[in-house]
Amino acid sequence: MFRKVFSRHLEGLSSSDVVVTPRIYRSLRRKITALMLITATLPLAIMAALNYYEYQKALSREIQNPLRVIVNKAKNSFELFLAERTSAVGFIAQAYTFKELADDKDLARILKILQTEYVGFVDIGLINDKGELVNYVGPYALKGHNYAEQTWFNEVRVKGRYISDVFMGFRKFPHVVVAVRHTLDSGEPFIVRATLDTHQFDKIIVAMGLEPGSDALLLNRAGILQTSSQRFGKVLDTFSLPMPPPTFEATVLQQQDAEGEDIFLAYTYFPESDFVLAAIKPKAQMLRTWYTVRGDLVFIFCAGVLAVFVASYKITDLLLRRMREAEEQRELALRQVEHAQKLSSIGRLAAGVAHEINNPLAVINEKTGLMRDLIDLREDFPDKERYLQLIDSVLKTVIRCRDITRRMLGFARRLDVSLEELDLNDVLQETSGFLTQEALHRKIELSLTLDANAPRIVSDRGQLQQVFLNILNNALAAVPDAGRIDVCTRGDGEGVCVEVRDNGCGMSKDTLTCIFEPFFTTKKTKGTGLGLSITYGIVKRLGGEISVESEVDKGTVFTLCFPKHPKHEA
């Protein structure tokens, strides 16, 4: 398929025979440029896109990993903290007898030791199987409270251990309850219940060392905040984001917060308790490096595309210009060769015809001459005058024919050019001198504007005269009476150019294409059609150039340029 498309669009490149017009060049330019652009930018774009995504992925992993590590560490701290406290309470429940624990003094001593060894204990209490608070040491007057109706009481009775969510409770400040059941030898169970200050949670979160703008918080599974946070509210507020799916591995999610800002949410569920630890980092902050990298990437890509575009455009331009030049040169050369061949073959033909006609013409000449001689000799020839007139007319016609054949031969002849250094202006002045009389008679203004600084050239005076005589004669024939012919010369380092401009009848395009061909004439009976082809031949022989421009009814301009030295021509 591609092949088809390519061959269809690029056929202009391979086929050299088509005449290449500017329109084809334009479409060719479009196609080449497009092709180069596509071949150059497509891989670039793919590379850039791959780079973009790979880099984004790598960077995002790089950014997420530390977050995951921090969350894991903090989770361990929390678990350790809770496990320590729970085992301390468990130890108390087992190490002491119910009696000892029921004793105010003993319990006060135990709490004091606890508070010394483990930071965070606020109070401690002993609850019997019926849910009554048997003994209590702490800042609040809670003794006699009955917990039988509360869910945690039933849970600890069944599971043996219980860690509560953070709650305000009777104490009116956020705390966590740790309860451990122990069964006496008698089979009667009792519960030791201690309260922990959540201050410790805040400390662990601070220890995570999060950057400003980031946030970490402890939640329960229902989405209630267990610690205060900067952006998600105070303890016991509801978390503004939906709870992530449960997992005990530290996991990073990319999502939007309530304000629509992109964030990374790193979280983990606690296997031993109902807590969920979450750390939130705004994406923008984390991806700042990524954004700079992306900016560079985009810049380099754009610059690359631009460079490719400019380069392909320039190269195409150059390529096409070369092609065009070559094409034009080829065409010009072909045209010249064609023209030269045409002229030379017609010339040979003309010469042959002229030769063949000369012999019969000579016979006519002699026979007619003899007739005249005979009539002349006889005094008594009837109608002598009339016959002599007729014979003279035949002889004049013979001479006319002879002149025509001579001119035809002149067109074909290979002249030995006799070169001399001459001033073209002089030649022009001399030649135009022949014609001033006719010009005057017809009130034609024949003006010469000669460049006095024109260099002298090496050329053939006689042939130049013939050339200018031909051209000026044509101009005289073309202009109406009271018309105008301007001849001007221009010299430069290379040679001299002569411009002959008339305001005569001009020529059509068709005429213009054949004016240098032999036997082409617009003068019907008066001309032989050889003048300009002879002129052309001479100018070429002298190493010059002749060109013509014309517009019907506006006039004609012949421009002839002669080099300082004629190039040697065979």
Partner: protein, 149 residues
């Protein structure tokens, strides 16, 4: 003036006979031959003063005749009269020693003028040579006679 011994050479009989007749009317009789071979024969049997010679003829052409006659009889003046030929051929003929080059068709009086001029020149050369010969200066006489060799 003594009669000119004139030889006309042309394969176009129609032309050359008429020409001969007209020349005779003008008091210049001539011998007419129609080919190069005949021309050489005629020169051998009776050396003419002037030859009017066509160039393009079947067999031995005019240029060949010109060359041979100039070799054997350098004092014979040869006038070319041809419808063919161009400047290159004219140049060649002149180099070979043709007295004049006429293109057909030509005015009878013009041709006659050239023939007479050629004859006069030949006579003058001969006379100068005779003068030198009379004075015993044979070398000079030969030189004059051979100068166009």
């Amino acid at each position: 003036m003594k009669k000119i011994k004139l030889l006309l050479v042309d394969d176009e009989e129609n032309f050359v006979n008429t020409l001969a007749e007209r020349l005779k009317m003008r008091d210049v009789p001539s011998k007419v031959v129609y080919s190069g071979e005949e021309a050489l024969e005629a020169v051998k049997s009776e050396v003419p003063d002037v030859v009017v010679l066509d160039l393009r003829m079947p067999g031995i052409d005019g240029m060949e005749v010109l060359r041979k006659v100039r070799q054997t009889n350098p004092d014979v003046r040869i006038v070319i009269l041809t419808g063919h030929g161009n400047e290159v051929i004219e140049e060649e003929a002149k180099k070979l020693g043709a007295f004049h080059y006429h293109k057909k068709p030509v005015e009878i009086d013009e041709l006659l003028g050239t023939v007479k001029k050629a004859y006069r020149e030949k006579l003058e050369d001969a006379m100068v040579a005779a003068t030198f010969a009379q004075a015993g200066a044979f070398d000079e006489a030969h030189e004059i006679l051979d100068e166009e060799k």
